[in-house]
């Protein structure tokens, strides 16, 4: 099996995913295009050498539909021989796009590829693609479908995380993200989104609230209590009947933010990199995905991490830094508990609670964040993982060269 090297990784800033968000005026196609152009330009790529462009996108309808990856390849001015493919594994799509590219390279069938993702959530709202899972009674009812917020609250209930526990984690995410930005840790990888006139529209993540405190979060009402009372709490309890009542602790302040953004990661074989004069930054040690119980939905990161660690012949102790997507605070707290990790190694520069979670792009963004931080700290290994809708998890282990 060949090695898969990571040559570069970058992302757009994350714009607030509402009408007043800076990126709301920018099409999803344009976001993806600028990410592809940036990775081409700063690596001096002859795009004709790229075997594939794989982009994650979770709601591939409307402007994000009809294989946005191919459209972005064409709009970015890549050579016409470069194909594009859009994939969807919900929240891990961006990481799975990189894994899929890496798999082709490791198998010797791909030499150079771009993985990444895009999601303009202010323009194509979450849930726009509909789907059988929540709606078709033949699966929704037997699979105990509940919205993710209920699952996150169920985790908090079962694991005994209090409102204070999850709020404290959220404050930490904000503090770490603010510190990372102020000390310039994202400068290398965040490319400004520009308009056609060359003006910068957005250069920094704009979802962050660095002033967040326990008091300010304490004022927020639980976001999923009402939804739970419609029947979803009962569904969750029927799946976990040891629970008497769901403790609703999550709200907008301790859940991932809705944002717009795109990311791109350049991966390739050792030989292709040498041929093109690219400098490898890390290699992909192992990756994989897993299915888990779909009602609680968000517990697979630990399961898939163990699976992928075992494949790499490693243990938790061999990993220097962890990035687990901050879908909800309880997801991270449970991961810390199950994996027995020190919080000092996990999400050290904050995460999606502070900076937002552009669904299809986040996985690729986390990969880049982990790589940058390994370099900054002079460390070697990182594990990136995300929880996924319908009970799945994806993880990737990278090793700096």
């Amino acid at each position: 099996m060949s090695d898969c090297y990571i040559y570069d990784a970058l992302r757009t800033p994350r714009g607030r995913g509402k009408k007043d968000g800076s990126l709301h005026e920018v099409t999803a196609l344009e976001l993806a295009t600028q990410a592809l152009q940036a990775i081409r330009d700063r690596n001096g790529l002859d795009t004709g050498e790229v075997d594939d462009v794989i982009l994650g996108c979770v709601d591939p309808v409307g402007e994000q539909g009809a294989d946005i990856a191919r459209a972005a390849v064409l709009k970015a001015g890549f050579a016409q021989n470069v194909p594009g493919m859009q994939i969807n594994r919900f929240c891990a799509s961006g990481l799975d796009a990189c894994n899929l590219a890496a798999g082709g390279i490791m198998a010797g069938q791909t030499e150079l590829a771009i993985g990444g993702g895009v999601e303009a959530m202010s323009r194509v709202p979450i849930g726009s693609s509909g789907g059988a899972w929540p709606e078709d009674p033949s699966i929704a009812i037997p699979a105990y479908f509940v919205p993710q917020g209920i699952s996150a609250d169920l985790i908090a209930t079962l694991d005994g995380f209090s409102r204070d526990d999850v709020d404290a984690y959220a404050v930490q995410s904000q503090t770490r993200a603010a510190q990372a930005w102020s000390s310039g840790r994202f400068d290398h990888s965040v490319i400004p989104v520009k308009d056609a006139l060359g003006q910068t529209i957005l250069a920094r993540d704009e979802h962050m609230r660095p002033a967040t405190t326990m008091q300010s979060l304490g004022a927020l009402k639980p976001a999923f209590a009402e939804m739970g009372s419609l029947g979803f709490d009962s569904v969750a309890i029927q799946r976990y009947p040891q629970v008497e009542a769901i403790n609703h602790v999550h709200h907008a302040g301790n859940s991932s933010g809705i944002v717009d953004g795109a990311a791109a990661v350049l991966l390739g074989s050792k030989e292709k990199g040498e041929e093109l004069g690219l400098k490898p930054r890390a290699k992909v040690r192992a990756f994989g995905s897993i299915g888990s119980e779909p009602a609680i939905m968000l517990t697979a990161p630990a399961e898939v991490s163990k699976k992928v660690l075992a494949r790499a012949g490693m243990t938790e102790n061999d990993i220097d830094l962890f990035e687990i997507n901050e879908a909800f605070a309880s997801v991270v707290l449970r991961y810390l508990r199950v994996m027995k990790l020190s919080p000092d190694k996990v999400n050290v520069n904050g995460g999606a609670i502070a900076m937002g979670h552009p669904l299809g792009a986040t996985g690729a963004m986390l990969l880049g964040t982990a790589l940058d931080e390994l370099e900054r700290r002079g460390l070697t290994t990182a594990l990136i993982t995300l929880c996924i809708g319908a009970g799945m998890g994806t993880a990737t282990i990278i090793e700096r060269l």
């Binding site: 509909g130 709606e135 078709d136 037997p142 979803f232 569904v235 029927q238 009947p241 008497e244």
Partner: protein, 727 residues
């Protein structure tokens, strides 16, 4: 036209009135014969140029159609194998074909709904182009199918949501709601309501004004009201609807999920394709053992028992005109209330005038509540109250037909009441005891006429519970039994007849459920898991909540009495210890004092489990027990007790066991009752399950001899019973 199910009348203007009149029945049923004739009518309509339109109405008073012919359906479902499936599917598609011919015949077809229209009857009206309904407030429309494990099968799951939107259509079908003409008009199922006398004129006027109607879904610009499953509102309807359905039913009722699926899948395609989807789900429901058991118990058996199936035929029909009720407490006043509602004069006796008046006041409150909900008028209240006469003197019983005692549950008190009554009542009066536990044969010893002494066991709250358990003592005579059954029919409740035994039938079986819950608590299974397992098994409440509503102190008293009198034991079992701990160490008697296993608010509404409960016992609670195993235990122990009652001759008719279990204590209705549950499972499988549970949890699960015989012979309770009846 020559028709047997309908009358055909063509007026001078070319409008045909088709009057439905199912021969030999008080209500119309949508039989296959009726469907065939409707097909001929549709053809004639399309072909005959002189005919301008059709009005469909009914000759039955207050009834348009009661629904499909369930016996005919049962016949279709009775076979086995692929042929049965094909026949059933073809039959349903045949109905769709006829209804579709009516809908697309090119001429206006209008339903003049002159009375209640249910199920298939309502579906026929949906295939008409316009619906005019009587304003008669007692008329109803609705889809009762899901109540007996079926789904609307004559187009209802498709036409209704296309007419009024999925959000309005689904609850009507899922919850079998029946709505009155005003509500039907409001929701858009009928387009007009008029006085019954004006129905024909209104329908004919519409026909004249609309010579070429097209069903909305046959127009090219048709859109589903409020949108299909993937519209914004549709996504809400189905996503939340699925959760609400599970939250309400624990997914124990396949038919309800089939309704959801038929609507969801049907709305994604054109209506003709949608009918195929509906037909497939209908046939799945029809052929399921689940619907067969539900139809048998909740339709046929209930009707048969209500009509006096268990009545001694030799005794002439009796009529209770005057009733004496002894004891004006909760039960006594409830009995007085339901009896007065049925037109019976009630003498309500208690030891003091104040108490007797108190009973009447309780009835006043019940009537006021009915008035506030629009279900009674002040005039009706006066009329009902006028029939209740509070009294302290037993002499007031001198001309009663029946006396029901609802005095304190104590042999001495009951004996005294019996003697005093005997001294004053005419020799023809029947004496009924509303005891819930004390054997009737023993109580009858206080009577001078034990042949006239019988158990008449009501359930609480009397006005809402539809069952009365009639207990036949050793000496109870046929006239007493006939009188009790006739009386129960008159107050519009369903009687079951059981033989005397400790706890009779209902209390005895029901008690196994609560005891099993307490045993689980003793096994350190975490209380929420016990409670959720009970609800998920299909019981209306978890066993601990049930204990609270019965009264933990009452349970403790019964347990101690049973131990002293029957078991002759000094040592309380773990279940009794838990009750004693709650009642005597923590003052928690249940709902009655707002404190039991749960906490209750001032109106008696259940709050969370009492946090202190978790401090009971020393070892940690187990939350890893398999919920399915707990559910199995909770249902099996009840069904096994019912099987024992059958073997011991407490139960002599499986219909009594199944109807009594569902109406009396809410035994998982989707099973069709405990004996149906065993029949559906097969006695061999049930016996194996019992033996396995006995191995793990104790001898109380060991199956009785009769069950083992059935397991060996492959017999069923209903099969055995049919044989016995034929013999």
């Amino acid at each position: 036209m020559e028709l047997t199910q309908f009358k055909w009348e063509q007026d001078s203007g070319g409008i045909v009135t088709l009057t439905w009149d199912t021969p030999g029945k008080p209500v119309n049923v949508l039989s296959l014969a009726a469907v065939t004739e409707l097909g001929r009518v549709a053809e004639r309509l399309a072909e005959d140029g002189a005919i301008k339109g059709l009005v469909i109405t009914s000759a039955k008073s207050g009834n348009f159609c009661a629904g499909a012919d369930l016996d005919e359906m049962a016949g279709i479902a009775g076979g086995a194998g692929a042929d049965t499936v094909k026949t059933a599917f073809d039959t349903m598609m045949g109905i769709h074909h006829v209804f579709r011919k009516i809908e697309t015949c090119g001429k206006p077809v209008v339903a003049a709904i002159n009375g209640t229209a249910l199920g298939g009857g309502l579906e026929l009206t949906l295939a008409c182009h316009h619906r005019v309904m009587t304003t008669d407030a007692s008329a109803r429309i609705g889809f009762p199918e899901a109540q007996i494990g079926l789904i609307p099968g004559a187009g209802g799951t498709q036409r209704l949501p296309r007419m009024i939107g999925a959000m309005n259509a689904l609850p009507l079908m899922l919850e079998s709601r029946r709505i009155d003409p005003a509500a039907a008009l409001g929701i858009g199922i009928v387009q007009q309501t008029v006085a019954a006398a004006e129905l024909l004129a209104a329908t004919k006027a519409w026909i004249a004004a609309n010579p070429h109607p097209v069903a909305p879904w046959d127009r090219p610009d048709f859109r589903i009201p409020a949108g299909g499953p993937f519209s914004k509102s549709g996504a809400q309807v189905f996503t939340v609807g699925n959760a609400m359905l599970r939250s309400r039913t624990y997914d124990n009722y396949p038919a309800q999920r089939f309704i959801m699926s038929a609507v969801y899948e049907g709305l994604l395609v054109d209506i003709d394709t949608a009918f195929k989807i509906e037909a497939r789900y209908f046939v799945r429901a029809l052929l399921s053992s689940n619907s067969k058991a539900m139809i048998r118990t909740l339709f046929h058996s209930m009707q048969e028992l209500g009509k006096g199936a268990r009545r001694p035929k030799e005794v002439a029909r009796t009529e209770v005109r005057r009733l004496g009720v002894l004891g004006a407490g909760v039960m006594g006043s409830g009995i007085a209330y339901v009896s007065a509602l049925a037109g019976i004069d009630v003498t309500l006796i208690d030891t003091t005038g104040e108490r007797a008046e108190g009973g009447k006041n309780a009835v006043t409150k019940l009537l006021d509540r009915e008035i506030s909900r629009g279900r009674a008028t002040p005039a009706r209240k006066d009329e009902v109250l006028g029939r209740i006469h509070p009294e302290t003197r037993f002499e007031a019983l001198r001309d009663v037909d029946l006396v029901i005692e609802a005095v304190f549950e104590d042999r001495k008190v009951k004996a005294e009441a019996t003697e005093k009554t005997d001294a004053c009542t005419p020799g023809t009066a029947i004496f009924g005891s509303n005891t819930s536990t004390l054997p009737i044969t023993g109580l009858a010893q206080a009577s001078r006429r034990p042949e006239s002494f019988i158990g008449v066991h009501f359930f609480s709250p009397v006005d809402r519970m539809g069952l009365v358990e009639i207990i036949v003592g050793k000496q109870t005579g046929d006239r007493a039994l006939a009188t009790a059954i006739d009386y129960v029919a008159k107050i519009r409740k369903t009687p079951i007849v059981v033989n005397d035994s400790h706890g009779f039938y209902t209390s005895r079986c029901f008690e196994t459920f609560t005891l099993e819950g307490l045993t689980m608590l003793h096994e350190r299974i975490t209380p929420p898991l016990i409670e959720n397992a009970g609800r998920m098994a299909g019981m209306p409440m978890g066993p601990l909540e049930v204990m609270d509503s019965v009264g933990v102190d009452t349970g403790l008293k019964i347990s101690r009495a049973y131990r002293a009198e029957i078991l002759k034991s000094e040592n309380p079992g773990p279940q009794e210890q838990i009750m004693a701990w709650l009642v005597e160490e923590n003052g928690r008697n249940g709902v009655k004092n707002g404190k039991g296993f749960y906490d209750y608010d001032s109106r008696g509404k259940r709050q969370r489990l009492w946090p202190g409960l978790f401090s009971y016992g020393a070892t940690s609670w187990r939350n890893d027990a398999d919920p399915k195993e707990l559910m199995r235990r909770l249902l099996t122990i009840q069904a096994l007790e019912a099987a024992r009652c059958y073997e011991e001759n407490v139960i002599t008719d499986p219909r009594d066991a199944d109807v009594g279990a569902i109406l009396g204590w809410g035994f998982a209705p989707f099973t069709g009752g405990p004996l149906s549950m065993i029949d559906t499972m097969g006695a061999a499988a049930f016996v194996a399950q019992c033996d396995s549970l006995a191995g793990k949890y104790g001898e109380r699960f060991r199956p009785n001899r009769g069950l083992r015989e059935m397991a060996n012979s492959g017999e069923t309770f209903y099969g055995r019973f049919a044989k016995r009846r034929a013999a």
